[in-house]
C-alpha cells in the first residue's frame, strides 16, 4: 500500500482504468480495424479517387487533404467514450466501480485516455501513410508537434462530451447511430475535403464556422500545408484557427468534465 493522498489515489485509479482500456484496444479487433485500417483506407481512397478530379489553387490535393483526414478520424475516434460508457452501464460494471473506494473521476479519465491512445495510434498510422503517398510536413518539428497536440486535444474534449452523452443515452447502439448521423455532416460540411468557398452559400457559412473546419485549418497551418494561394475562409475562426481550437476545446472541457463526473456519481446500471 502506498501513501494515500487524494492526488496519488486519483493518479493510481486513473492509471488502473486507463490500463483496462488499453488492454481492450489490444483485444477487440473492431477497434484495431477502426484505428489502423480505416485511416489508411481513407488516405488512399481520397488521394487516388478524388485527387485527380479536385484541384486546389496554390496547393495539391494530397497536401490539402491530409489535415482533413486527420481531423475526421480523431473526431470519430472520440466517439468510443460514448458507446463504451453506455456499454459499461449496460453490463453493470459501473455499479461495481461505484461501490469501490476509487476516485469518482477515474473511470472517465481512464476511458478518455483510452480514446487518446487510440487517436494517437491513428495519427501515427495516418502520418506514415501520408508520407508514403507524398504528403510532407513543411513546418518546424515544434509546429508539427503542435499540430498533433491540437488534434489530440480537440478529440480529447470531444471524448468527454461523448462520455456524457453515453451515460445519458445509455444505449451503445443509439450512440453509434447518432454519432454517425451527426458527425458525418459535421466533418463533411467543412473545409476538410474541399475548400469551403466551393460550397453553396448556406453550407459555406456553416463550414466556415464549423469547429471541425477550425481544427482542419489549424492543423493545415501548423503542418505548413497552406502554400500561398490556398483558399482560406475569412471568418475569425478560420483566420485564427489554432487559437479558436484551443478556446473551443477549453470551453468543452470546462463544461463537460465536471458535468460528466457529476453524472457518473449518480448513474446506476439499469
Amino acid at each position: 500500500m502506498g501513501p494515500h493522498t487524494p492526488l496519488t489515489r486519483f493518479l493510481s485509479d486513473g492509471w488502473t482504468t486507463t490500463r483496462r482500456n488499453l488492454i481492450k484496444i489490444k483485444r477487440v479487433p473492431d477497434i484495431l480495424v477502426f484505428t489502423l485500417l480505416q485511416p489508411i483506407m481513407f488516405v488512399l481512397l481520397f488521394t487516388y479517387v478524388y485527387g485527380g478530379a479536385i484541384t486546389i489553387p496554390g496547393s495539391n490535393y494530397t497536401e490539402f487533404l491530409m489535415a482533413g483526414i486527420f481531423a475526421q478520424t480523431v473526431v470519430f475516434g472520440a466517439t468510443y467514450s460514448g458507446s463504451a460508457m453506455a456499454q459499461d452501464l449496460k453490463d453493470g460494471i459501473i455499479d461495481r466501480f461505484r461501490t469501490l473506494p476509487m476516485n469518482d473521476a477515474a473511470v472517465l479519465v481512464g476511458r478518455t485516455n483510452g480514446d487518446l491512445a487510440i487517436n494517437f495510434l491513428s495519427v501515427v498510422v495516418m502520418m506514415t501513410t501520408g508520407f508514403i503517398v507524398g504528403w510532407r510536413i513543411n513546418s518546424s518539428p515544434l509546429q508539427a508537434m503542435a499540430a498533433v497536440g491540437l488534434l489530440l486535444l480537440f478529440a480529447y474534449a470531444m471524448s468527454w462530451v461523448m462520455a456524457f452523452i453515453g451515460m445519458s443515452v445509455r444505449s451503445p447502439e443509439v450512440i453509434n447511430n447518432v454519432s454517425f448521423i451527426v458527425l458525418f455532416p459535421l466533418t463533411f460540411v467543412s473545409n476538410a475535403f474541399v475548400p469551403a468557398d466551393t460550397l453553396p452559400t448556406p453550407l459555406r457559412i456553416f463550414a466556415e464556422w464549423n469547429p471541425v473546419s477550425a481544427l482542419v485549418q489549424a492543423v493545415r497551418e501548423l503542418f505548413g500545408n497552406v502554400p500561398a494561394g490556398t483558399p482560406v475562409g475569412d471568418t475569425w475562426m478560420q483566420q485564427h484557427a489554432p487559437l479558436a481550437v484551443l478556446i473551443g476545446a477549453g470551453i468543452l472541457l470546462a463544461i463537460f468534465v465536471p458535468l460528466s463526473i457529476r453524472k457518473f456519481s449518480r448513474v446506476a446500471s439499469r
Partner: protein, 342 residues
C-alpha cells in the same frame, strides 16, 4: 446499535406513462455484526433497491442508514472501503481475463500491485477458475462469470458483504461451494446481507430473515420463528380433477386453521391444521364418503415456502423480471402482485 441499520427507507420511481413505483416503502433493517441476514422476497419486492441504497449506488428519498455507525448517505467514501458487493448481474469486464478483472478491483481498493496480484491468485483458486484465469471473460459460462463477480466482492476481505441473489444461475455444485464460502466468511466475523428468492438458500444460510414485500419488511425472525409464526403442520392433498379440487377445498376450509392454498399445478391443496393426523383422517373420511379418493395425501412441517405464501398471498418465484423501477403490466397478475409492483 446493530452493525447495519436502516430506518424508514423510501424510494419512489416515476416511470414515464406509468403509476409511481414505491420500490422502498418504509423499510427497516438491523443486522448484528458477524451474522448472515437474508432478505427474502419476490421480484419487485425492493430487495435490489435496498442493497443498492446500502452500497451507496442510489440515494433513498427518505430514511437513514448506518454501517458500523457510519452514516451511509453522508459518508459513502468511508463505507466503500469496508464493503464488498456482488449484484444480480455479473459486473465484470468482458475483455479482461478473470485474473485481470480481480487484479483491477484489488488496485481500485488500493491494495497495491503486488498484493492485488496475490489476492487475485488466491481467489481464482478459491473459486476454482485456475484453468480459465487467463482467458477473456467474454468466453466464460454464466456460472464462471458469477464466480468472478463474487470473487470481486471478496478482494478486500470486506467487513460487510452484500450479495444480491448470489447463486442465481449457478449450478448446484457451485451453489454449495458458494454457501461454504459465505458460511466461513461469517464464521470469521464478516457481516453478510444477502437477498434471495430461494427459500432453501435463506433457510440454509441466514441466521435471521427479513421477508420483504411491497418495499417493506412484512415479517422477520429466525427460520424457525418464521415457520412457527404461521402455525403448525400442514396437510396436503393431490386430486385428480378440478371438480374434486373444488369439493376438497370446501372440506379443508372447515378443517384448516386458515384458507387452503392451491399450488401452481392446480391439483394440490395445502392447509395448516392444529392436529395433523386427526385432520388428515377427517379429510380422507369426508372425501371417501363422496366417492373421492385423492392421488396423494400427507402431512408435513411448514416450509419457508408456506411462510411466503401465507404472508404475501403469492409464491416467492412467480415473476422473473428485474427488481426495481420497471413495473410492466402482465397478463396474469393477481391483485396482490399488482399491489406489490405498484
Amino acid at each position: 446499535m446493530a452493525f447495519i441499520e436502516a430506518r424508514g427507507l423510501r424510494k419512489t420511481y416515476l416511470p414515464k406513462g406509468a403509476p409511481p413505483v414505491h420500490a422502498l416503502d418504509g423499510l427497516n433493517l438491523e443486522v448484528p455484526q458477524g451474522t448472515i441476514k437474508g432478505l427474502l422476497g419476490p421480484n419487485g419486492a425492493g430487495k435490489t433497491t435496498a442493497v443498492k441504497s446500502l452500497t451507496t449506488l442510489i440515494v433513498p428519498d427518505e430514511g437513514t442508514m448506518t454501517i458500523d455507525g457510519i452514516d451511509v448517505m453522508a459518508h459513502p467514501e468511508r463505507i466503500r472501503p469496508i464493503i464488498g458487493v456482488s449484484g444480480q448481474y455479473a459486473a465484470v469486464d468482458e475483455n479482461l481475463t478473470g485474473f485481470e478483472n480481480l487484479e483491477m478491483v484489488g488496485r481500485l481498493y488500493h491494495l497495491g500491485a503486488k498484493e492485488s496480484r496475490a489476492r487475485a491468485t488466491e481467489l481464482i483458486e478459491l473459486f476454482d477458475l485456475v484453468e480459465a484465469q487467463n482467458r477473456p471473460v467474454k468466453g466464460f459460462s454464466g456460472g464462471m462469470r458469477r464466480r468472478i463477480d463474487l470473487a470481486g466482492a471478496l478482494v478486500v476481505r470486506p467487513r460487510v458483504l452484500f450479495l444480491d441473489e448470489p447463486t442465481t444461475g449457478l449450478d448446484p455444485r457451485s451453489r454449495l461451494a458458494l454457501w461454504d464460502v459465505i458460511r466461513s466468511l461469517a464464521g470469521e466475523g464478516t457481516t453478510v446481507l444477502l437477498t434471495t428468492q430461494y427459500l432453501e438458500e435463506a433457510d440454509q444460510l441466514a441466521d435471521h430473515i427479513s421477508v420483504i414485500d411491497g418495499g417493506k419488511v412484512i415479517a422477520e425472525g429466525t427460520t424457525d420463528e418464521l415457520k412457527n409464526s404461521i402455525g403448525g403442520a400442514r396437510i396436503e392433498l393431490s386430486l385428480a380433477s378440478e371438480k374434486e379440487v373444488a369439493t376438497a377445498r370446501t372440506i379443508l376450509k372447515k378443517i384448516g386453521s386458515s384458507e387452503p392454498i392451491l399450488a401452481a399445478d392446480g391439483r394440490t391443496l395445502t392447509v395448516p391444521v392444529d392436529n395433523a393426523p386427526a385432520a388428515l383422517a377427517t379429510a380422507l373420511g369426508e372425501l371417501g364418503s363422496r366417492g373421492i379418493s385423492p392421488l396423494d395425501a400427507g402431512m408435513r412441517r411448514p416450509t419457508l415456502d408456506d411462510v411466503f405464501l401465507q404472508l404475501t398471498g403469492h409464491a416467492a418465484t412467480l415473476e422473473d423480471d428485474n427488481d426495481d423501477s420497471t413495473a410492466k403490466p402482465k397478463t396474469k397478475v393477481s391483485r396482490r402482485e399488482r399491489k406489490a409492483a405498484n
